[in-house]
Amino acid sequence: METNNVDYTELSRAIVLGASALGAGTAMIAGIGPGIGEGYAVGKACESIGRQPESSGAVTRTMFIGCAVAESTGIYGLLVALLLMFANPFINKVSG
């Protein structure tokens, strides 16, 4: 029986690249969380400054620190997306 040796290299590369592109886009959905959370935090900060204007320096500083910490999960999503787009770790495993 004759076996046809079909070369699947091109197809595998195409699948990996397409899936990486989809994954990079999906990873950015992680940007919703910090958007909502930090918006809420800034709203609360504005409220407290309105209630007590002389605390505005301390409130602003604390708000910035809190926002930068809450931002970190969004940055993780961006990091995954950038890795998939520019330094794809999967593509070296399929090129034969």
Partner: protein, 250 residues
């Protein structure tokens, strides 16, 4: 992409890769790579050392010069911040915080000169985060004793043991990834912006859009982001260490 490519408007694509290796040593089977990061870090150390030597030359008690006023303001700010966050007991910790902040912010700001940020190499924030990790656990053991330290893991319920271990591991991972991720994403976005502007310039032929716009954008991505991340890193270091200390007195 280089400055000449950018001004000429010849788009070659975005190149986002790790720090280049300047030279390699081979020490008996072990290869040591001298990367861009190491060279630039030593450059920063040299510049800061010379700057500090200049600032602290010629100190007087009365009738101080302007540079002595700047030096005194810097020292007062750092010591004040450490005392506010950690309490008076930790006043001796301020030199490490000052050095870390200076290194971090200069390492990120170097990207405004066209060089690759020192903090865009994951080894650098990882090292600082691991130093903080060792300091946290060392302080914990020193304050509570080794038995108290181990008992803290099963506090309040023994079921919490895996969660406590996980949150201890998450501390250096999140600190380093946050700093690294912010700086690297700023670097990638800036290089994408340069690429896009140079594509437009190649079509038009006149380099009028490549001047000015990247400078304004890099105010946010490089300057603000680098400063905020350095500040957050030292604030988190101080807060974690003073939490591990536990005693809330001065």
């Amino acid at each position: 992409m280089s400055i000449s490519d950018f001004l000429r408007g010849s788009p070659d694509g975005v190149d986002v890769s790790g720090p280049k290796i300047v030279c390699s040593f081979d020490l008996g089977g072990l290869t040591i790579n001298l990367t861009e990061t190491i060279v630039l870090s030593w450059g920063i150390i040299l510049v800061v050392t010379l700057l500090l030597l200049w600032l602290t030359s010629d100190l007087k008690t009365k009738d101080i010069s302007k540079k002595q006023a700047v030096a005194e303001w810097a020292v007062k700010t750092v010591y004040g911040l450490v005392e506010d966050t950690m309490g008076k007991r930790w006043r001796w910790f301020a030199p490490y915080i000052g050095a870390l902040f200076t290194f971090s912010i200069l390492g990120s700001l170097i990207s405004m000169l066209g060089l690759r940020s020192v903090t865009a190499d994951f080894n650098v924030p990882l090292t600082w985060a691991l130093i903080t990790f060792v300091l946290i656990h060392g302080t914990n053991i020193k304050t509570h004793g080794f038995g108290g330290y181990l008992k803290g893991y099963v506090d309040p319920v023994p079921v919490m043991l895996p969660i406590n271990i996980l949150s201890e591991i998450a501390t250096p991972v999140s600190m380093s990834l946050r700093h690294f991720g912010n700086v690297v994403s700023g670097m990638v976005i800036t290089s994408l912006l340069y690429y896009a502007l140079s594509v437009i310039t190649a079509k038009i032929g006149v380099a009028f859009m490549t001047i000015g716009i990247p400078a304004v954008m890099s105010l946010y991505f490089d300057l603000f982001s680098g400063f905020m991340q350095a500040f957050i890193f030292i604030m988190l270091t101080m807060v974690y260490i003073s939490n591990a200390d536990g005693n809330a007195e001065t």
